[in-house]
Subunit: 304 residues, 2 copies
């Protein structure tokens, strides 16, 4: 499917990289979050349940890899990587609610509201969204990228014109046919916005020059969109067991998806084209964006 | 009920003050928020529906008055006052949901989910919480109170140990008897935390010295707690019409309230004591906290 993507160099050990970055992110999240026993314990247990439910930490890994590509350190990027992961997790908890996608399983485990009830699930999402800004505020700022800038970046990506707006557009598209432009509007917001934000914040943590920030934006946008197109394809072609969540749900709910609008083959071509665009965006980094390249290749080959 | 509170000086025209401050806050909120027509329009309409549903803007007024007391300007305090109001509004939207308090009316109007449906109401709340941080990031920072500090202040007041934590504890207290300590824990978080945050942020916007910030904290804490105790009392003693929301709901839902734990008379004494404490906290400001004093007096005399 993605013959046009650059094959990872044999020297780069992606599983080891992902393991190390996830360990760093998990340790930082554990430090930033109140203990599970902290009052009110139900809330903190619910926040930790979804945050530590086996997520692959792909957004944080992209954030750390972007920092590396710009000559920065994981340490400086970690609070921002964790902030993005908290926002991602909150959005999943709320999306899974009966009033939205009504999903019982996520990553092979019962969803937050199935375990804790709807009220607590809504509040656990609210608290994760809130603590994300606390984490971002704890990051190091630079004259070019002061806290004001970091917070605006995160708030815009998570806000009504991006992440939340995408979820609303997605809800509203259910059960009716949508155009490709509409579908792209939804996917750019539901998936690309936060992924793009993750790599941009990684660059900002490394005090990157504006040209690198622009390259990261293009990379993040293309990877995010490709990722979502592939997600749509997998929902059609894989089983629930393979996915770790209910397969075919998009079709059942008459969700707006690429295969539904374009057909399977054209969707695969779209994914391949976006993938090429993502790799092309990394050219200005020359050799220094190996981790980003290999991560993108991994993200966009999930059907293999 | 509150004989111990200082009577407002005849020279201070509170209705005019409230009208001017609400007008300034409404204009600023209207500027900060995406147009109702901005895509996705349903979401922005839902956000504006609750934000402009006739709230009295008491928290923003307290924020502006605190800035004044510290020699600052409304202009500098406005982004923070608006941020607090967005967080207050989001918390009402989510609290009214069927999974929480299940309220059909708020301020005499149908609640957000009754008009827009539960999914949109949850997302409108999420977007209001998110945009609050954007507003706070747009405020002016000072070396003593940089954006990092402002964001942490807001995130802590809104987070799992304060506002959201209070709502969880409140949910968990339903239908069983609670101690006075537990009830205080809930009220401090559900009401005091954000009110205290509003006056503290007002002080910070005026670059106040630490002693003034401490005085504002004590004032905000006492006013917030007194306000909630009086709210509990009014739910028992007033009609739905007078309240603009369903009366007696606390009792019906077996909610933890001061009258339920202490009885009506002892609750009234507790409110009076907290009120005295609030006014005492303003002593260090000498004559410069008139607006705060009169506002507190107004807030704590709602039964007259």
């Amino acid at each position: 499917m993605l013959r046009n993507s650059a094959p990872p160099a044999p020297s780069f050990d992606l599983p080891a990289y992902l393991e190390r970055s996830a360990a760093a992110v998990n340790a930082a999240l554990d430090r930033y979050l109140p203990r599970a026993s902290a009052r009110p314990a139900t809330l903190h247990r619910a926040m930790r349940y979804s945050l530590f439910a086996g997520g692959k930490r792909l957004r944080p890994a992209l954030c750390l890899a972007a920092a590396e590509a710009c000559g920065g350190t994981w340490e400086a990027a970690l609070p921002l990587a964790c902030a993005v992961e908290c926002i991602h997790t909150y959005s999943l908890i709320h999306d899974d609610l009966p009033a939205m996608d009504n999903d019982d399983f996520r990553r092979g485990k019962p969803t937050n509201h199935k375990v804790f009830g709807e009220g607590i699930a809504i509040l656990a999402g609210d608290a994760l969204l809130t603590i994300a800004f606390e984490m971002a505020a704890r990051a190091r700022g630079w004259p070019r990228y002061p806290h004001q800038r970091l917070i605006l970046e995160l708030a815009e990506a998570a806000g009504s014109r991006q992440l939340v707006g995408g979820q609303v557009a997605d809800l509203e598209a259910e059960g009716r046919s949508v155009s490709l432009a509409e579908l792209r509007y939804i996917h750019e917001r539901k998936t690309s916005a936060l992924l793009r934000c993750a790599v941009r914040l990684g660059g900002m943590s490394a005090n990157c020059p504006p040209a690198q920030l622009e390259a990261l934006s293009q990379f993040g946008h293309a990877v995010g969109l490709a990722f979502q197109v592939i997600d749509d394809i997998l929902d059609v072609t894989q089983s629930s067991e393979q996915l770790g969540k209910t397969a075919g749900k998009d079709t059942a709910a008459r969700k707006a998806t690429y295969p539904a609008v374009l057909g399977l083959e054209a969707s695969r071509r779209a994914a391949a084209q976006l993938t090429r665009r993502a790799f092309a965006a990394l050219a200005p980094f020359r050799g220094r964006a190996r981790a980003l390249e290999v991560l993108a290749d991994h993200l966009l080959r999930r059907d293999r």
